[in-house]
Symmetry: C2
Subunit: 311 residues, 2 copies
């Protein structure tokens, strides 16, 4: 269970597919939850994108790499080196598919360099859940041209809503007793015993965000993304490029919209936009797609999306 | 000997020292000579800087790496991968200090990737000259915290100036005979023989540019940069930071100005500016320095400097 309110926002650091453009850098999505920053992928130039964003590159504590194409991980060595040059001491955790340890090992040995902090590479299997207390992150297999993972961020349940009116009706005075009950403790007054369930509603779900990495849409994704707040989905191609999408193991924006609809997601955000589309052509990318899933957004670099609690 | 006129410009792609800032990316300087682009260093994000500049990343044929600190070479894998994704076939030559072959070998094996073209790594010794026909590039030892090289770009001599007036006086008619003489051929007319030296002046020097990479100023640099058109010099710190400059193997702007003066360079361009200085603080960097060497410029990202011929 987590505290009542946490800020949770998604910051898009790189939204281009395969190689950068002047408008879009290569893949990286940051999740900022209170003071912590989690990265999903870390393409070349991510450290500088962080510096140009509202986030600090020194705040990053965990990085999840979806697969080992350069546009998803080549920003790691520079990020780690700049953290060292800025005297970081806190360890950095890097998660990713099988092969990650070897890759991180190689990256740590590039050129003259010694990290000032521990870099821990942790390989994840398909369908593995890591519990970080206030949230879990679960991997699932992507369907791309090379082995890869998608990730589900799931916040822990929050405590139920405290019914102040009911508490007062029961004769509990406002003050220390309220906060004890809110913390789940039993309180006694004039031989009466009050338990938290008397004045606290049912637990409320935490927020859920799914990041597909590079992938065709899959049944597994739909299942994993069920009722999520946001799907951040591969949206490399416009709907008329389905063949190319299949050839390269990517999705069209329409593929993504159909998946979001099936999963009953609240919002779909498309990223990994092919460099073939200029910012002016974004309308081509989603014009027919919004009919399938109205709450669809095409990500842009530095776009911030605040994830609110469901009521 | 080279053709009479070639465009030669320096394009600054990254001018920050050690790590990037929102205003400056890490080290890379491009030399554009007619259709060819030569890079000196290739820090993380250089491919995107190229995309945002007047140059094409596909035009790069040669890359010279000064030393193996990440901010000088971590842009190589992304550049090579994007060239492959854009179907490059032409080979790419990479030059640098001892250890380059191993580094390039490692870079080529990062993640899932096969280059579509040959990448040739060529290690250079100190004081080695490579002759590319229209120009040479010579290495010399830098004085940095790790082994490194500086590079001297020297254009071949141009043909002398054709003295049209004198040729007409000698009775040579304007037309094919002029161009034969200009090409160095002997022409005959009415039993008279005209040799090119009769109407063509002495050879004219080509242009010369020196790139120091990261370095303290050295006597070798001054010697190598003698009478050059441009020195692109490490200018990490302001003059009041001499101690830090010595500690980290860098130069102050004043160190650079003194070297440029001794070398009788035409222009000094300072780069590798420490992230501690904002663009507004550039005046601090060179306020006292211009008295030592008036033709001093602080580089900015995307600054272009046209190198003209000396008269």
């Amino acid at each position: 269970m987590v505290k009542d309110m946490s800020q949770l926002k998604i910051v898009f650091l790189g939204t281009s597919g395969s190689w950068p453009t002047p408008e879009r850098n290569v893949s990286s999505v940051a999740l900022k939850r209170d003071g912590e920053v989690i990265l999903f992928d870390c393409g070349e130039g991510t450290q500088r994108q962080l510096m140009c964003s509202s986030l600090s590159f020194m705040q990053v504590d965990k990085v999840f790499i979806s697969h080992f194409h350069g546009d998803h991980f080549l920003g790691l060595p520079g990020l780690i080196q700049s953290m060292t040059l800025n005297d970081r001491e806190k360890e950095l955790l890097i998660f990713g598919p099988a092969g990650l340890k070897g890759l991180v090992n190689t990256i740590m040995g590039l050129g003259y360099f010694n990290a000032s902090f521990r870099v821990i590479a942790r390989e994840m299997r398909d369908h593995e859940t890591l519990d970080f207390g206030e949230y879990t992150i679960t991997s699932y297999p992507a369907d791309h041209s090379v082995p890869g993972l998608g990730f589900v961020f799931q916040e822990a349940e929050r405590t139920g809503r405290f019914n102040k009116e009911k508490a007062l009706e029961m004769g509990i005075p406002e003050g220390p007793m309220f906060s004890k009950l809110q913390k789940g403790q039993i309180v006694k007054m004039n031989d009466k015993t009050f338990t938290p369930d008397m004045v606290i509603g049912p637990k409320r779900p935490g927020r859920k965000i799914v990041y597909t990495g590079d992938s065709r849409p899959t049944g597994t994704l739909v299942q994993k993304a069920k009722d999520c707040d946001v799907i951040i989905h591969d949206g490399t191609f416009a709907p008329d490029m389905e063949e190319k999408a299949i050839e390269y193991g990517h999705s069209t924006t329409l593929n993504a919209a159909k998946a979001a609809k099936k999963a009953r997601a609240k919002t779909l955000i498309l990223t990994h936009i092919s460099p073939r589309y200029s910012e002016n052509e974004e309308t081509d990318l989603i014009k027919d797609v919004k009919q399938v899933f109205p709450s669809t957004i095409v990500a842009r670099d530095f776009m911030e999306f605040e994830v609110s609690y469901r009521e």
